[in-house]
């Protein structure tokens, strides 16, 4: 077996592991979201595929719907892969009035291609690994996702009034 072939196989195995890692983080977040919204909204899951730096793979889009109304979809959560600046993964929340980014950030820093070690965050407040939203005030603040913040983002991207 040639060196190139072995190298390609190693890259593929590595990419598949990264895909699984990302999908696991998305899955954990979805379980939290389902818990947060269960009293107020329904949800629907649909398969979709994305292309990013670790290949083309299947993801699940989570649509948040109003209960018992003819125009049900309020917002969709679209996993966008791992290739996000300052983070390890991205989910976009999209509604009729806009899109908000939910980024998976590591407390130890940011991995950059051209640096050997992780580099420190330029934002303060990332105390553990997890999904964050960047509040774009004068000084950008990363806020860890929680129920209140999630509903706040829903009201930013849709006509939902929290």
């Amino acid at each position: 077996m040639g060196y190139l072939k072995v190298n390609n196989m190693a890259t593929q195995i590595n990419n598949e592991a990264k895909q699984r890692g990302y999908l696991e983080k998305v899955g954990q977040f979805y379980r939290q979201v389902q818990d947060w919204i269960q009293n107020d909204f329904d949800f629907v899951m649909e398969n979709s595929s994305i292309l990013d730096t670790i290949g083309t793979y299947q993801v699940e889009v989570l649509s948040i719907c109003r209960k018992k109304t003819p125009d049900p979809t309020l917002a969709d959560l679209f996993p966008q892969g791992i290739a996000v600046f300052m983070g390890e993964g991205l989910i976009e929340m999209k509604g009729i009035f806009g899109t908000e980014w939910i980024i998976y950030m590591l407390k130890d820093g940011i991995i950059i291609d051209n640096e050997h070690d992780k580099v420190m965050h330029i934002y303060k407040g990332i105390e553990k690994d997890g999904w964050y939203w960047l509040e774009e005030s004068e000084e950008t603040k990363p806020l860890m996702m929680n129920k209140a913040l999630f509903f706040n983002l829903l009201s930013l991207v849709s006509d939902y009034d929290s």
């Binding site: 990013d52 290739a83 950008t140």
Partner: protein, 199 residues
Amino acid sequence: MIPSVLSNPLPAMWEAFETSESALKVARKTIRQPQSQKADCQDELFKYQRRLLNKTTLFPIPANAEFLITDCQTESQDLFILGLWATSERFIRKYLQQKSIVIQQYVQPPTLGNSFYQYLYKEIEYWKPTDILDFLKESLFTTQNDKNLIGLAKQILVYRDWVAHGKNPHKLPSATHLKPKQAYDTLNKIINILLQHYP
């Protein structure tokens, strides 16, 4: 020739970009079908919507209006990042050109100092951005936090190049998603550090 005093050009760019984002959000809200329970109120709302949208490309409201606005927003965000990079790069080149004036002032004999400065001034225009970032990292950005900024700036440059060359799906950069505010925060911090050592 007296060089103009350098100041940070990025905050004004950010303010303009934030305004354009808000304007697009207003457009999104305006094209929504007005809803009222009362028929006469509904009529008034339609008239008001028409007054707001009249003489724009959003009236009559195209069937794909929401898609058009989303498309416009993506374009505007990418163009903002391109502009932000170009403005930062111009600032850094000007900064280095102004720093080079000491050659003209102190190298003896003055005729050599003058030619030397003129040549360097022209050459700075051709230096590669990554080479400039590397020597800044070795000189003015030596703390761990400051070095990180240079690493992040290089990643923004790779993103900028990818966008400028048509987002080739076969040559993806390490970050294909970059928020305008993240690019602004990084480059703004770099320029502010440079200004701490100015003039």
